[in-house]
């Protein structure tokens, strides 16, 4: 054979998951469950806030899911999963102790260095709070490194509010300005009612020293970005995280491509200034 037998230095395991065990499951809303997981090899996930993993379910395949816990909380990691498709519905039926597969973490995550010393305005809509929470808790666990912290959170209705225990802690934290709203209240709701931009309008922000970190559904971006612009936020002071169908997670399969960018590698976190002219961004 004229063919050279060269040893391949590359990973044969690019598409294979590592086993992880579900340590704890909690139903957090009618459609969302919070899974606490531990990698079976005992290692930490080693993620950055804002990164995602590919979750494998035996016989179902894979789905990209944001890591919701902060890397400052070691040993286990958390995924908050909405039952939306076949894999996530099957995942909701898994008991504590079950094994799933994990590939990753993938993506860039939030730039925690760039944000150091800055005031941060977190704006989360719906399950956009899931990836945002990894950064919020990271900032709160490194309180001295960051400036004023403001958290705005909105959901469609009170039933969809996530992480209620944690929201209470943020609300009681004297170093955090936490405000929330629902689009439509119910008979028990006594808080603010209105879309999330109504919270923004009431806020005294210092756009020169503040970075806005925005994660939510596409429609929310549209109005929040307009509102931030009207408050003189520079485009490069706005950080967003985008949802895409990230299939391989390693910049090859093409599904998450957004113009010239592979969201699974160059994202899912973007500086708004970089992608604002991308027709497919929002």
């Amino acid at each position: 054979m004229p063919v050279e037998k060269t040893a391949c230095s590359c990973s044969e395991k690019l598409y294979l998951p590592r086993p992880a065990t579900i340590v704890k499951v909690r139903q957090v809303t009618p459609t969302e469950k919070l899974f606490e997981l531990r990698l079976d090899d005992g290692s930490d996930l080693g993620h950055q806030p804002g990164q995602f993993v590919e979750v494998s379910l035996f016989g179902y395949g894979e789905a990209p899911i944001s890591v919701s816990s902060s890397p400052t909380r070691k040993g286990t990691f958390e995924l908050c999963v909405r039952a939306a498709g076949s894999l996530t519905n099957a995942m909701h039926k898994l008991p504590e102790g079950a094994t799933i597969g994990i590939r990753g973490p993938y993506g860039n995550g939030f730039d925690t260095e760039q944000l150091k010393g800055k005031d941060i305005l977190f704006i989360g809509g719906g399950i956009g709070l899931v990836p945002l929470r990894s950064l919020i808790n990271y900032v709160l666990d490194n309180r001295g490194d960051y400036g004023k912290t403001t958290i705005l959170y909105g959901t469609k209705s009170p039933a969809e509010i996530l992480f209620t225990d944690e929201l209470k802690a943020w609300e009681e934290d004297p170093t955090v300005d936490f405000r929330m709203t629902v689009d439509r209240g119910d008979e028990n709701w006594t808080g603010h009612i209105g879309v999330i931009t109504t919270l923004l309008e009431d806020l005294e922000t210092g756009p020169a020293t503040t970075y806005a970190v925005v994660v939510g559904p596409p429609i929310m971006y549209k109005f929040v970005l307009l509102s931030l612009r009207s408050q003189d936020f520079r485009d490069d002071h706005v950080i967003v995280s985008l949802e895409r169908r990230m299939k391989c997670g390693v910049g090859k399969c093409g599904h998450c491509q957004m113009n010239s960018i592979y969201v699974c590698q160059d994202g899912p976190v973007f500086n708004y200034a970089r992608i604002k002219d991308f027709p497919e961004a929002f």
């Binding site: 054979m1 004229p2 063919v3 050279e4 037998k5 060269t6 391949c8 230095s9 590359c10 990973s11 044969e12 395991k13 690019l14 598409y15 294979l16 998951p17 086993p19 494998s56 035996f58 016989g59 179902y60 395949g61 894979e62 789905a63 909405r82 939306a84 498709g85 996530t88 094994t99 597969g101 596409p218 949802e243 895409r244 169908r245 299939k247 391989c248 390693v250 910049g251 090859k252 399969c253 093409g254 599904h255 998450c256 491509q257 957004m258 113009n259 010239s260 590698q265 497919e280």
Partner: protein, 348 residues
């Protein structure tokens, strides 16, 4: 690069020798068809010089349409080593150009795809000059040549009485070194004949593509904002079959899915196509490219705008397979010509 001369009979002897070591695929015109296919070389078979690339692209050998990429929970953590590809005789320069695109994706430094890379490093390619171009051929339209200058192991240029055989790699040099009795020196006459044939092919290709010549770059044309009609008229016959993308030697989208195999799960990689409606749809229902027009445009944006931005060259080899295979008779050259006309129309 060094050139030698090999007679028809000695080329058969060379292929016979290679075929004793493993599978050798050579090009062969299919019976009752204009298509050139690959077939295993049998001892004593004369090499059929087709002067035209085979219908199947090389991507299928390196990145099969469907392939198991692992199983879990793993008995052994390592996936089995993928089978080495055969020696391939007969691809043309367009096929080589396509490999450069695939290399950029699958052999990127950060995440190397082991299945592709393992086969790619072992691939041995004996190319041929393209001297019988067809109306769908577009290599010169892309600024490429119908004969290879790099990226091959050996190349065959048919001349009187045999072939000029050119060495393109260390592997190629070693192979000819171990079969030195089969090759002789390439004479000035033989090299002159090769160059003339190459020039004729180049000229024929330029004539074929003359009516599609563009005054602007493809990237510039894709950036035009007011070309809706040009896009609409070219997508109108698309039936979303994705033949263009599966036939394309550079397209590399794939899907990963799992299937049960006893008490294990196999992870399978299968070709996918960005023209399918569900391609980028998310679980929550959002879809960045819901319209066929969005996806049709994405195909060309990826090949001629995004990929060049990231890699410095267009993701198209000009092989014409997408034009040949299209049920709706869509021709990318006509699309770009229409885009250019839309500029001229808005200028006047």
């Amino acid at each position: 690069m060094t050139t030698h001369f090999i007679t028809d009979a000695n080329l058969t002897a060379l292929l016979d020798s290679l075929a004793k070591e493993g599978l050798v695929l050579t090009c062969r015109t299919a019976p009752d068809s204009e298509h050139v296919l690959y077939a295993p070389h049998e001892q004593g078979d004369a090499f059929e010089y087709t002067g035209f690339r085979p219908a199947p692209a090389l991507k299928g050998l390196l990145f099969p349409p469907q392939e198991k990429v692992g199983e879990y929970p793993a008995a052994s953590a390592e996936a089995p080593e993928p089978a080495a590809p055969p020696v391939v005789v007969g691809p043309a320069n367009c096929d080589l150009r396509a490999l450069a695109s695939l290399d950029a994706v699958f052999m990127a430094d950060d995440f190397r795809d082991g299945f592709y890379t393992g086969r790619r490093e072992k691939l041995f390619v004996i190319t041929q000059d393209c001297t019988n171009p067809r109306l769908t051929c577009a290599c010169t339209w892309l600024g490429l040549k119908p004969y290879p200058e790099e990226g091959f192991d050996l190349n065959l240029s048919q001349v009187s009485g045999g072939y000029v055989i050119e060495v393109g790699s260390e592997k190629g040099r070693e192979l000819l070194g171990s079969h030195s009795s089969l090759v002789g020196d390439a004479t000035e006459e033989a090299l002159g004949e090769r160059d003339n044939r190459r020039a004729e092919a180049q000229k024929a290709l330029e004539q074929i593509n003359e009516e599609y010549a563009l005054g602007m770059t493809r990237r510039e044309l894709l950036a035009l904002g007011d070309a809706a009609e040009a896009w609409a008229s070219n997508v109108s016959t698309c039936v979303e079959c994705a033949a263009c993308l599966f036939a394309c030697p550079t397209c590399h989208c794939f899907l990963l899915y799992d299937q049960k195999a006893g008490d294990k799960n196999e992870r399978v990689r299968v070709w996918d196509a960005c023209s399918y409606g569900g391609y980028s749809r998310m679980a929550g229902g959002g879809n960045p490219r819901p319209l066929l027009m969005d996806r049709f445009r994405h195909r060309f944006m990826h090949k001629f705008d995004y990929f060049p931005e990231n890699n410095g060259f267009e993701m198209c080899s000009g092989c014409g397979r997408c034009i040949e295979g299209c049920a709706g008779k869509i021709d990318m050259r006509k699309l770009f010509k229409a885009l250019e006309s839309s500029v001229n129309a808005s200028d006047s």
